[in-house]
Symmetry: C2
Amino acid sequence: MTTAAKTDKPAREQILDAATRLMHVSGYRGTSLDDVLKESGVGKGNFYYYFKSKEELGYAILDRIVQGFLERTLAPSFADPSHAPLEKIQRFFDSILESQRQRNCVGGCFMGNLASELSDVHEGFRRRLTDVFTRWREKFTEALTHAQADGTLTAACDPARLAHFLVASLEGAILMTKVTKEIQVMETCVGELKAHLALYATGAQS
Amino acid sequence: MTTAAKTDKPAREQILDAATRLMHVSGYRGTSLDDVLKESGVGKGNFYYYFKSKEELGYAILDRIVQGFLERTLAPSFADPSHAPLEKIQRFFDSILESQRQRNCVGGCFMGNLASELSDVHEGFRRRLTDVFTRWREKFTEALTHAQADGTLTAACDPARLAHFLVASLEGAILMTKVTKEIQVMETCVGELKAHLALYATGAQS
DNA sequence: GATTATGTACCGACCGGTTGGTACAGAGCT
DNA sequence: AGCTCTGTACCAACCGGTCGGTACATAATC
C-alpha cells in the first residue's frame, strides 16, 4: 500500500495514456507537461527519460492514435468479406457515429483537432497528419473501386475524388458535432453521406 | 516624419487587425499578447485600456469575423434575386473555394479553427460559434426551402438536414485542404457537394 | 485669459505564476 | 559495480495581467 492504488503499467504507457486523454480535449498547446505529469503520477525526470521533448511526446501519441485508428477502427469495418464494399463504408460511418455518441460529443477527432491546431505552424505534425488522412482515404478508394468492379457502384464516379469527399465530410461532421454538442448533427450527416453514396450506387444492393 | 510610417488607424483597430491575422494561423492559445502587441505596435497599457482581458479580445475578434462573414461572404451570395436558390448556394461554395485559393490553403476557417480548439474547454466561445454556424445553416435552409417552393428541389428532401450536412462538409473540406495544402482537395469537395445538391434537384434547372 | 481640473489615450517596467527543459542524486535490480 | 529507472530541486523564458506615470485635449473655475 504505497501512496496510491496505481495501475502497474510501465511509466511510459502511463504518460502516453494521460497525455492522450488530456490532449484529446484540450489540444496540444492546451495541455502542459505538468498537467500530464500530475495526471499520470510520473515525475519530471522520469518523463524526460522516456521522451526528449514535448514535441516527441506529441509524435508518440499521434503515432499511437494513428495505429489504433488504422487497426482498431478502420480495418475491422473493412475486414469482413461477407459484406459488399459499399456496406463496409457505411458500417465505418456508423462506427464513427457510435464513438462520438459514447464520448458525448466531447473531444471530436484527435487527428482532426491536431490538424486544425498545428497544420499551419508545425510542418512535422502536418506531414504525419496528411499521411493518415491519405491512408484513410485510400481505404475508401479501394472499397469504392471494388464496388465498381462488382457493379454496385456506377462506373461514372471517380473513387479517389469521392473518397476525398467522404473523409472531409466525416471530419466536418465530427467538428460540427463537437461544437453543437448535439449527436443528431452527426446522425444527420452520416445519413446524408449514405444518401450520397446511394447516389452513385446501382440498384444492385441487397 | 516622426519615428515610423504608421497607419493612422485607431489603436483598437490596429490591435484587432493584428490579432486576427496572428490567431488565424496560430490559433487562440498559440498567439500571445506580446505577439499581438509587437505586431500592432501598441503598448501593453494601451491594450488593457481597450480590452479587459485576452478572452475579451478573442470575443471582439470573433464578433468582427462573424459579422464580416455574414455580411460580406454569406449575404452577397444570396442577395442577387436574378438567380435560382440552388445556384446561390453553389455560388457560395465557389466563393469559399476562392478564398482558400487566395490564402494558399493557409489558415483554414477562422471559426472552424476556434471551434476545434475551444469548444470543449471554453463554453463562451462554444456558444458563440454554435450561433454562427446556426445562422449560416439557416441561410442554407432558407434557400433550399425556396428551391422546394419553386420546384427546383424535390419535396422528398429535408432542407434543415441537408443544410446541416452542407455546412459540416464545407468545414471538413476546408480543414482537409489546410492539412494537405492542396487546393484540389477543396475543388473536389465542392464539386462533390454540387453533385450532392443535384441529387435532390429536379431537371428544372437552366 | 490664465489656471486648475478632468478624461482619454498611451507607454514600458514589473508581478506572480507557469512554461518546457535540465541537473543530479539516489533507488532498485542484475 | 553498473545499468535502468525515478524523484526533486532548479532554471530561464514566457505567460496574462497590473502598475505608476505621461502627453494632451477639453472643460470648469477664478
